[in-house]
């Protein structure tokens, strides 16, 4: 990408709040999110009951007032999980400190047999100190995944020193400050797009 192209879309980053002042056509465009809008989808449940990486019981309602992003992964995942967390950190940077303080990134480990709370904490917080890892019993994690339609399954790999891999959903779910499930973010979406969507939710969209 050349520098001029980069500079050309800078205003889009800086001024998402002003888009609403433009004409009706633009207003319509601004109404659609870059992510998949799943507001009101009845297939999803409302809350989870897990423990955070410091051992505290946690549910979604603990984070009311913040935009919450929820992702299910595991520490042996070499690609999608670290790049997901790196994007989340880039999103916070794009939002700036004031808005970033109103966003909570949650990472649920679906590998309780290997991912201890200590390991999860060391892992997620290196991407951003505000990130919180969640875990629980196999039943609690399975329940949370069912509630939010995050499929995962353990696949034995007897020939691998991994022992098993875990197939897992790569969508990130986003909740607005009122705790309502609003968006599903695809893995390939850019930090810029995600930041734009989160900003709109922070502004009450």
């Amino acid at each position: 990408m050349d520098r001029r192209a980069l500079l050309a879309w800078l205003p889009a980053l800086a001024l998402p709040g002003l888009v609403g002042l433009a004409g009706c056509e633009r207003l319509d465009k601004a109404r659609s999110f870059k992510s998949i809008d799943i507001t009101g989808n009845p297939e999803f449940g409302h809350d989870f009951s897990l423990h955070d990486h410091d051992g505290r019981p946690r549910s979604l309602s603990d984070y009311r007032g913040k935009v919450v992003t929820l992702f299910f992964g595991y520490l042996h995942c070499p690609d999608f999980c670290p790049t997901h967390l790196a994007r989340e950190a880039a999103v916070l940077q794009a939002l700036g400190p004031q808005d970033a303080a109103r966003v909570q990134t949650l990472f649920v480990s679906v590998d309780p047999a290997r991912d201890t709370p200590e390991k999860i904490k060391a892992y997620v917080t290196v991407f951003h100190p505000s990130f919180i890892g969640l875990t629980g019993t196999e039943q609690e994690i399975a329940q949370a995944a069912r509630t939010f339609k995050a499929s995962y399954s353990k696949v034995p790999m007897p020939d691998s020193s991994l022992g098993y891999a875990i197939d897992h959903s790569t969508l990130t779910l986003v909740f607005d400050p009122k705790g309502r499930l609003r968006l599903a973010v695809r893995h390939e979406q850019s930090a810029t797009d995600v930041a734009t969507d989160l900003k709109r939710l922070l502004d009450g969209a």
């Binding site: 070499p78 690609d79 670290p82 790049t83 060391a122 892992y123 499929s151 020193s161 790569t170």
Partner: protein, 159 residues
């Protein structure tokens, strides 16, 4: 913000400029790289391109001292679900073709890392081909989020 973006841009340019290649027989190995890992991360993926100017060959194994074991894996998205599998027969490198080991697909899998991989460092990786034989390449360790997003994709440089 502007400063960050310009800095990122400079980094991208720098990364591209640091691309490195190796050759064994008729196979050219382009820019082996991995990502820095978080403490507690037990595994990492390694990526490179294999450009085969000769007869059909196969990457049968890889070894490195950074982890207890090194395997060849693939992953693929099935809908929105990511599935990773070990490749017991290695990675085929057809005659005259280029095979890419890249995020979201084929990769070298470093399992049970002995220490976190640190950005800016490099480590040796031995690749063993069925016909071309063995070659040791340096794997460059890039940022934790390298190639996480389209804008960060510094690795699609041309050879």
């Amino acid at each position: 913000m502007l400063r960050t973006l310009i800095l990122s841009l400079c980094c991208l340019t720098a990364l591209s400029a640091q691309a490195h290649d190796y050759t064994i027989g008729k196979i050219k190995i382009g820019h082996p790289w991995s990502r820095a890992t978080a403490p507690g991360a037990p595994a990492a993926g390694g990526f490179l391109t294999l450009e085969n100017g000769g007869e059909a060959d196969r990457l049968i194994s890889a070894s490195a001292a950074v982890s207890e074991t090194v395997e060849l894996h693939t992953m693929a998205m099935d809908g929105n679900v990511m599935k990773m599998r070990k490749l017991d027969n290695g990675i085929e490198v057809p005659a005259g073709k280029t095979v890419e080991l890249k995020p979201g697909g084929l990769h070298v899998m470093f399992i049970s890392l002995k220490a976190p991989l640190k950005e800016g460092e490099k480590f040796p990786l031995k690749l063993k081909f069925e016909k071309a034989g063995e070659v040791t390449v340096d794997v460059k360790i890039e940022a934790m989020g390298a190639a996480a997003a389209p804008a960060g994709n510094a690795h699609e440089h041309k050879h």
